[in-house]
């Protein structure tokens, strides 16, 4: 979507539409509480980075907010209303490991445009945005890891989401691919797409975040603006994580 159109749409729908509120949210598996968030309100615009060590519940939280799994209790409000299938359509999720259809690069985008009733002539533009225009006819599954992830992001953007969730999209990619993906995500954010980005790469979080949600053992240990979080984390666990000495905290 051209930028002016995107911004106009964003203005029309209003930032309120992207405000995500979690109320007494819990997710249990076999009697174990994996997510426990009494209250959390994500600001309606910009880029939020969700951080935390492995097993903190980052991916699980993303799946709950995107409606892929139902919470055991509590509720998720988007724009003040409970998360509905219709609202889920205004969100998109990019997985850590992209699952691409067994088709050409262009056909992967066209499939989503057609399924969502979007303008199918945007295919080329979307591929150009992620620098895959020259590979449009290639089999998608024969692309490199970085190219596959860029295609997955283009496919997510094809749905014209208000909110784009990214679940560690640069894990196991080389620095060049990481840079390319961060550029695409930043451009989407400038176009008015609300970004919620999961990573455990502190440097990447510093580059992207406007605010940070830090998870530990399924709970929100800290929620702050990026400046406040990186310059003066309030909790012991966040300080240990940022200094790279989480293991010492666990030992003590």
């Amino acid at each position: 979507m051209p930028m002016p159109e995107r911004m106009a749409r964003n203005d029309a729908r209003g930032a309120r539409a992207c405000r995500i509120e979690l109320r007494s949210l819990a997710y249990d598996v076999a009697g174990t509480r994996l997510i426990d968030v009494p209250a959390l309100t994500l600001r309606p615009t910009g880029t939020t980075v969700v951080m935390g060590p492995n097993g903190a519940g980052k991916s699980l939280l993303l799946r709950l907010m995107h409606g892929l799994i139902p919470p055991s209790s509590g509720e998720i409000l988007v724009g003040g209303r409970p998360l509905s299938p219709e609202q889920c359509k205004a969100q998109a999720l990019v997985f850590q490991k992209p699952v691409l259809l067994r088709r050409s690069v262009a056909a992967n985008i066209d499939f989503v445009l057609k399924a969502r009733g979007k303008d199918r002539s945007r295919c080329r533009d979307l591929l150009d945005r992620v620098d895959l225009g020259s590979l449009a006819d290639r089999p998608a599954r024969r692309l490199s890891g970085g190219e596959q992830q860029r295609l997955a992001i283009a496919r997510a953007l094809a749905t014209e989401p208000d909110t784009l969730f990214l679940d560690e999209p640069t894990a196991s990619l080389d620095p060049e691919s990481v840079q390319a993906i961060e550029g695409i995500v930043a451009a989407a954010a400038r176009d008015g797409v609300r970004i919620i980005f999961v990573t455990h790469d502190v440097q990447q979080a510093r580059r992207l975040a406007e605010d940070v949600v830090f998870l530990s053992s399924g709970r929100v240990a800290e929620e702050a603006s990026a400046d406040a979080f990186f310059n003066g984390p309030e909790t012991k666990v966040a300080r240990a994580y940022l200094s790279g000495h989480l293991d010492r905290l666990v030992e003590t």
Partner: protein, 235 residues
């Protein structure tokens, strides 16, 4: 050994001479079995896809039943179709008994469970890989089924081949509902049965070799098609 050598020579001779009777039998065999395979795929592939992506009470027993039906004995299918199409049967007024159409009906019933059961398994495995991505894209069940059928097309070619192989090789059902009438319902397998009963083993063997070659040619054609269209997929 002498008979086999004689049979191979006879088969080559029949093919080279483009024997009219042989061509008629081969053509009818292909017509009946390819028609049955096409109908079974048109009905069976979407049903297999529906079973792959949906969950409903009683799904388990339905899958067990369909898997069991893969082993349907051709003579039993032939007998059931015969009873329905015979003059005193409920569909006797159609006048289809001892026609190629009756043979197509019987073979379709025989191979449809194979197409449904195998496609269900293939597409369920594929859906396991795609399910979360499809949910994330908020696709409808219809869109999911269409996507699975397209993305699983190469594996489904093999499913169709399995159905065709079963159809072209069976003799019991087409014998009962077709009657093996010369120039009307005689196909390769019924012709082989007839020639064997007549003691004309070289001709029966020659027909068997032609049947084998036919099945291999169809398989090769499907694989050729698959190789030719695999450029846009990682199958």
């Amino acid at each position: 050994m002498q008979q086999i050598g004689e049979a191979i020579g006879l088969a080559i001779g029949l093919l080279l001479a483009a024997d009219a009777d042989l061509l008629e039998i081969v053509t009818l065999s292909l017509y009946v079995s390819l028609s049955a395979t096409s109908i079974a795929c048109v009905l069976g592939l979407p049903l297999g896809a529906i079973l792959a992506v949906t969950r409903f009470p009683g799904r388990g027993p339905v899958l067990v039943l369909i898997n069991a039906l893969m082993g349907l004995p051709p003579v039993v299918v032939g007998l059931i179709v015969y009873l329905h199409l015979s003059r005193s049967g409920p569909l006797g007024f159609l006048g289809l008994l001892y026609t190629p159409t009756a043979m197509i009906v019987a073979q379709t019933i025989l191979i449809a469970p194979i197409v449904v059961a195998l496609s269900r398994q293939v597409l369920e495995d594929l859906h396991l890989e795609y399910a979360e991505q499809f949910r994330s894209l908020a696709l409808s069940a219809r869109q999911i089924i269409q996507a699975l059928l397209w993305d699983g097309r190469f594996a489904l070619f093999t499913v169709a081949l399995a159905g065709f192989g079963r159809a072209v090789a069976e003799v019991g059902a087409v014998m009962i509902v077709g009657g093996n009438i010369d120039h009307l319902t005689r196909v390769m397998t019924t012709a082989i049965t007839l020639e064997t009963s007549r003691g004309n083993l070289p001709l029966a063997l020659a027909l068997g070799i032609v049947l084998l070659a036919l099945a291999m040619a169809v398989t090769a054609a499907v694989h050729g098609l698959r190789a030719g269209t695999a450029g846009h997929a990682d199958a």
